[in-house]
Amino acid sequence: MLSILRSIWTILTHTFRRRVTVQYPDEEPYLPPRYRGRIILSRDPDGEERCVACHLCSAVCPTDCISLQATEDETGRRYPEFFRINFSRCIFCGMCEEACPTYAIQLTPDFEMSEFKRQNLVYEKEDLLIDGPGKYPDYNFYRVAGLAIGGKDKGEAENESPPVDIRSLMP
């Protein structure tokens, strides 16, 4: 009997407690920087596309929502001819970001992407590409990779020794 009265009193004191509700459209909730929301493609500090079209993201994607086709420019630099993410299938698991060897594909703390038409949820490369480097401001894959492409020969990358002539006996 007394416990019933006590629980009624406890509930009554909740009148003056802080509300737990976040009044969402009026009041933005805080999302941590590593929140897994809308997927973007970033550029390196020189303003070039980071994506090298290795297909790892589309291979690891559990819902097969990423599709892309690789191509090369005249200097031998690989880039995707098209890059398409179907957000109506994406589950925002972030595995594409983990698989990406060049930090090109990244997830952002934006989740407001509702559409009235299902087709509008399919994002093309121009929708995905952003102007900045995203979470890794100084990283440039081609500057650290030992790959010869236009303007950079073998041994010219950062922290890379010049190539050894293996047919010479000289040390």
Partner: protein
Amino acid sequence: MSETLRLILIVFGVLVAAMSIAAGLIWFERRMLAVWQDRYGPNRVGPFGLLQVLADMIKIFSKEDWIPPFADKAVFILAPAIVITTVLMSFAIIPYGPNIQVVDLNIGLLFFLAMSSLGAYSVVLAGWSSNNKYSLLGGLRASAQMLSYEIFMGLSLMGTVMLAGSFNLADIVYAQRGLWFFIPQIFGLVVFLIAGLAETHRLPFDLPEAESELVAGYHSEYSGMKFGMFFVGEYLGITLISGLIVTLFFGGWIGPFLPPVIWFLIKTGIVITLFVLLRGSLPRPRYDQLMSLGWKLMLPLSLLNLAVTGAVLLVLR
């Protein structure tokens, strides 16, 4: 002529007020439950979410009103009408102010008890005519619950009747001029409050519709406005019981400064809030607990209250 007009005005005033309070309670209950659960509740539609009532009404009026092919059609349609009718009939006997009353029955309290007994038919018939085992179980529980709680519901009021010396609700209010009856009749109040909860099958005594066990109990098969009538009937029942508690134990419309009708509404509102608070804080008892509470605690308590009140009155006289 003016007397007839006044009566017609009172009848329609009571009808409109009761229906709009019952509709407003949908919003009020959701809002208050939210307050006690650290939420906000419906606050989007209109100021403070008040237009939620309108939105809910538009929704429930435009829903498909489906009658299952296996149901007993005539009874199925009749059942929700009974609950509204009987509850609205009881509103006729409550005095809302000096001389503001639909009918001044000298057996007013008995009329209310009779009407609430008839109200039990609505849930029983709804449970039976739905031809569904969950509905039937709900109807069964409702009939057993209402029969056993009606007995001491009536008995708990007899102390008040003895003090006032009348079944007439207007006389009972006038008898409370000096002292409101909740002080000498505190046990009567507690028993009547619990019986009222069971009569309107409100939480924590909502076993007839216990949604975790019986889908929705006796109104499982109801949809559209027929379900809405059960819904409104429940809120009308709360308003009625609150109005009666105020009339019988808290001096009805008696109060200083403010007009009598305002006093009545304020007191009724407080009791309605208490009903919502009880819903927010208490869990539903098991069925046998409900029955043993009724027969083993509430019935002896109301009998004792009756005997003691009678003895004290005899000694004083």
